[in-house]
């Protein structure tokens, strides 16, 4: 990815250019009035033909399908299927722990998460879905200006103000949520936060973004570990001695997240910053396109 001088949004555009527009798979579209591509199987505003019916007084003369009318004695009116758009609220963890990388060659977790999120949003907007950011209060919208505005909001967010987990927010039923973060917080807190959404019927998708060093713990010798969010430091005389235990802990955390997702009916994807973002994008893309 040769994208040194590009803004995050431009890189996201570049990344998403390889994929077709992401039309979310939606069983039930949020009860929004916004016009979209998800057919509601009922008559309404839309592009696709739905049915002919007899003209009734009060119908607008413009709605008469003259070609059909000419075939018979009756006068027909052409009706279209109501097509509505799905709305997706996105969120990424902007806290200090995301702003870290184990090596200069890697992007920080936050950069990667933002890249993935913007790429997905770009794809969705291209498909006509409406996107917004959790916590901003902006109504979901599907124009390109939205992306510009949202990426600007991301850029301006201070890590200190950001939280580990999204704050519960009243979302319309059947809305969808996309959460990206490292999800290294206490699993109970994670579950509490997700339930806040799930109980309203909001479906969601988790993407856990981790640095490779967080998986392998490559340190050795006498190391004093310091947290990035004010946790107390921890001195290890032989860091390599706890590597196996640490892996177990991490696996337990991942399992916990998976379990939470299962319980709430959400889905989750894992990503490491040393992998290519295309892989992650493709995984999330296919997951979102199938089910949410």
């Amino acid at each position: 990815m040769s994208s040194a001088g590009l803004s995050p949004r431009q890189r996201a555009e570049q990344l998403s250019a390889a994929l077709p527009p992401l039309l979310l798979h939606a069983d039930r579209v949020a009860a929004s009035v916004a016009q979209g591509v998800h057919g509601r199987r009922r008559v309404g505003q839309g592009e696709a033909f739905w049915q002919f019916r007899d003209y009734q007084p009060g119908d607008s003369p413009q709605s008469i399908d003259w070609r059909q009318t000419a075939k018979a004695d009756r006068v027909f009116v052409r009706q279209m299927e109501w097509e509505a758009a799905q709305s997706v609220w996105c969120w990424r963890d902007g806290s200090a722990s995301m702003d870290w990388r184990s090596s200069n060659k890697l992007p920080t977790k936050r950069e990667r998460a933002e890249l993935l999120m913007l790429a997905l949003m770009t794809l969705m907007v291209r498909a006509g879905e409406h996107v917004s950011l959790l916590g901003t209060g902006l109504p979901p919208a599907a124009n390109r200006g939205t992306l510009v505005r949202l990426s600007e909001i991301l850029r301006r967010e201070e890590p200190a103000e950001a939280r580990d987990l999204p704050a519960p927010e009243p979302l319309p039923r059947y809305g969808q949520v996309l959460l990206l973060g490292d999800f290294l917080a206490d699993p109970q807190e994670i579950e509490r936060s997700l339930r806040g959404f799930a109980e309203r019927g909001v479906k969601g998708h988790l993407v856990q973004v981790l640095d490779p060093a967080e998986e392998t713990l490559p340190y050795s010798g006498r190391v004093r570990f310091e947290g990035l969010q004010g946790e107390r430091p921890w001195l290890l005389s032989r860091a390599e001695g706890v590597r196996a235990q640490y892996r177990d802990q991490l696996a337990a955390q991942t399992d916990a997240i998976r379990e939470i997702a299962r319980r709430t009916g959400w889905r989750c994807t894992w990503h490491r910053t040393d992998r290519s973002p295309q892989t992650a994008l493709l995984a999330v893309y296919s997951a979102l396109a199938q089910h949410l």
Partner: protein, 941 residues
Amino acid sequence: MAALGPVAFAQPWLLLALMALPALWFLLRVTPPAPKTQRFPAIRLLLGLAPQEETPARTPWWLLLLRLLAAALVIVGLSGPVMHPATQLSGSGPLVLVIDNGWASAKNWSERMQAAEAQLDRAAREQRRVVLLTTAAAQPDAPLKPSDLLRPERARERVRALQPHPWPSDYESVRAAVEDLQVDGSAPVVWLNDGLQTPATEALASRLQRLGGVELMRPEPSNLPVSVLPPSSSGTDLKVQLRRADNRGPTARTVIASDDRGRLVATAEASFDDGSRLATATFELPLELRNRISRVSVQGENTAASVALLDSRWQRRPVGLVTESAQADAQPLLSEVYYLERALAPYAEVTRGNLGELLAQDRAVIVLSDRGALRADLRNQARSWVERGGVLLRFAGPKLARELTGPEAREGGGEPLLPVRLRRGGRALSGTMSWGSPPKLAPFRPDSPFAGLSIPDDLSIDRQVLAQPSLDLGEKTWARLADGTPLVTAEQRGDGWVVLVHTTANAQWSNLPLSGLFVQMLRRVVSVGEGVAQSAETGPLPPSSVLDGFGQLGPAPASVKALPSDALESNTIGAAHPPGLYGLEGQRRAHNLGPAVGDVRPLTDLPSGVEVGGFASEPEQRYGPWLLVAALVLLLIDLAIALLLRGLFGPAGGDGMGRRAARTAGARTAGGGAAAILLAVALAPTSASAQSAGAGDDPESYALKATLDTRLAYVVTGVDRVDRIAEQGLRGLSRTLTARTSIEPADPLPVRLEEHPLAFFPLLYWPVTEEQTPLSARAERKVNDYLANGGTILFDLRDPTPGVNLGGGLSGAGQALRGLTRNLDIPPLKPVPPEHVLTKAFYLLNDFPGRYDGGQLWVEDTSAGGGDGDGVASVLVGYNDYAGAWAIDQAGQPRFAVTPGGERQREMAYRVGVNLVMYAMTGNYKADQVHIPAILERLGQ
């Protein structure tokens, strides 16, 4: 100071601290290294984790070793180690320092001075006084005497002022001086000897031993001086003999002959064989060069004995031998010139010639064999030459006896050029009718130049011319027969001499020319012309310039005395008579040290108990500071390693938010930037030169350019204006060719003969200009190859004058052409014949105008066949400035008007160009076409 082999320590007790190193080891072992700090987001998962076995983190062993080494270096460095410490002086009295400063000491003077300073260092350290004693007196009258008791600092000043003298050391006087020396206690004696064996060495050493322990320092035998003897003046070559003291090992020395202004005249090698003390260098030089030699010295030697000064005694005088006809060589044994030349050649430079030529040259002696009366003008010329200092040696013979004897000889032509008047005819001393045997030669008188020569018994004079008796005949006679008649007479005229031998120079009248005496007599006569009067017994010679101890010639100091001739003969060298040049201007005599030195040997005989050593003792070296620096470097490395271990440098320490990491990264980028700048600065000249090299066309791209398209090419003459016209002309011709023919050349290329390959071009246009530099041999070879392998060159003389006279009177351009092509294989040329292919290669042409009209176009005569060129002439020479007619400017307009004028002429010039290119490219097929009717006709038969 405690010594430990070659190393001593100034503060040895500090070394005890080395015992503390194991304790330091233990302390470093138990102290764990500082942890490195790592920021980690997933710390929540780590909290509470602890490694199962808590082996304490240890400082790595190599880091421990590094620190211990640093500590050890500090301790050893502070204890002040000294390499090669000087030993203590023996005895309790003052240091007696005997320094040889005779001629042989100059060879190792700097080592000697260093050794003396080292001894004075010792004395200063032990606070001894010093007695200085030199072995060669500086002044002729001042006797040698030891110095007073000196402080070492004062002695150092005196030692630094010492200079070697160009005369031998006088050990006898030193011994006498030592007798007077009073010292308290036993005085250590250090003798800086020159390493040569002398009879007095042993005695002096024994005497010195009575003062205290004697330590004698001398140079290695292989490092002893080489002396040079003045060259032997006999023979045709100048032979210089070298002497060395040590006879071991073959060595070769270079002998340098230089003139009186120090300029090098010649060098020669002298090789000492193993076991030999003598070597000879031979100079084979023309006489003029040989006479310029005023100094012979040995390269690499700086003693006065390695220099031999030459005075006029070594200069050979040129002798002219008058030969009037070539007939003399036909029967050599009858020719007088033959005998004379054989006799003179070993000692003198002999030139033959007629008298007029020889007089014009600068000959010291002219030998005139039997010759009648001279022409009046020649005689006057010869007379004035003699009066200017020449020596005219004449021989009698039939012609001289016929024409110059008797009173009639002085009539008409005036006085003949003879030392004495001669009686008519001559006399036959023996013959078939004589009774007596011919007389022998009488012994030479002491005042004769021939004095001392032995006379062979079988010498006989059959005929001679007789001198008219006169009062001064006796004085004028150099040799006479036993009966008293003069055989050799001489008369001084002005500065020169006229010498007559009263018999012939061949065996016709006597057998003198067959004898060895003849050779020696001629040599004496020739030496009469040497300017220096050998017999002149003058008084003592005043010093002119003398050699110093290092063999440099300089003005004589006031202490040098005039040199009496017996001192000159006996080679007496001393403070009063240092080697050098003595005598007044024009009569310098060289006084050389080499013969006085004699045969020298390395020093061997010494009384037992004398400690003998060389100068090359290694000086004290203090290593303390260096060890401390090394310790500092090690500690810096340790600091870097510690920082590395704490994660300040490592790649694993990357930390997006850490300010420290950011700072490190910033520093790294800054450092990287600085390194990049340094690198750029370092590489700048290289890349600049690479660029400038790349700016010129490299061979490959030139070859591609020349071969991917057909191109016309012109030879770069180096004259901008000419080259530009050539370029523009070929451009215009290329355009015409493209428009009219199937040849579509690309832009013309310049060809630099020195660098560019020529093989790519079928036709080279070569504007001839006088300013072009001559071709190098390489370029000439290239052009010859090109011509021989089918290339065609059109030389354009660009000269309006009709060039029909190519072989005759040449214009400037013609001469330039001749100069440029001097070494080229230019075939025979002829004007283009009417039926030549050039007249019909594309257009039908009758003449070949360019910018000028009328100049003939010459072409190689290919009618004879042969050559590789497919019948195409390899060389064309035109006069009409073709490029000038073809030249177009940027807009495609012609640049120059054609003369006599008219666009028709320009059109014709273009047609000439088209025909030329067609001719060069297609060869002679047009000629074949023309012949087709004839061929068909023949086939039909």
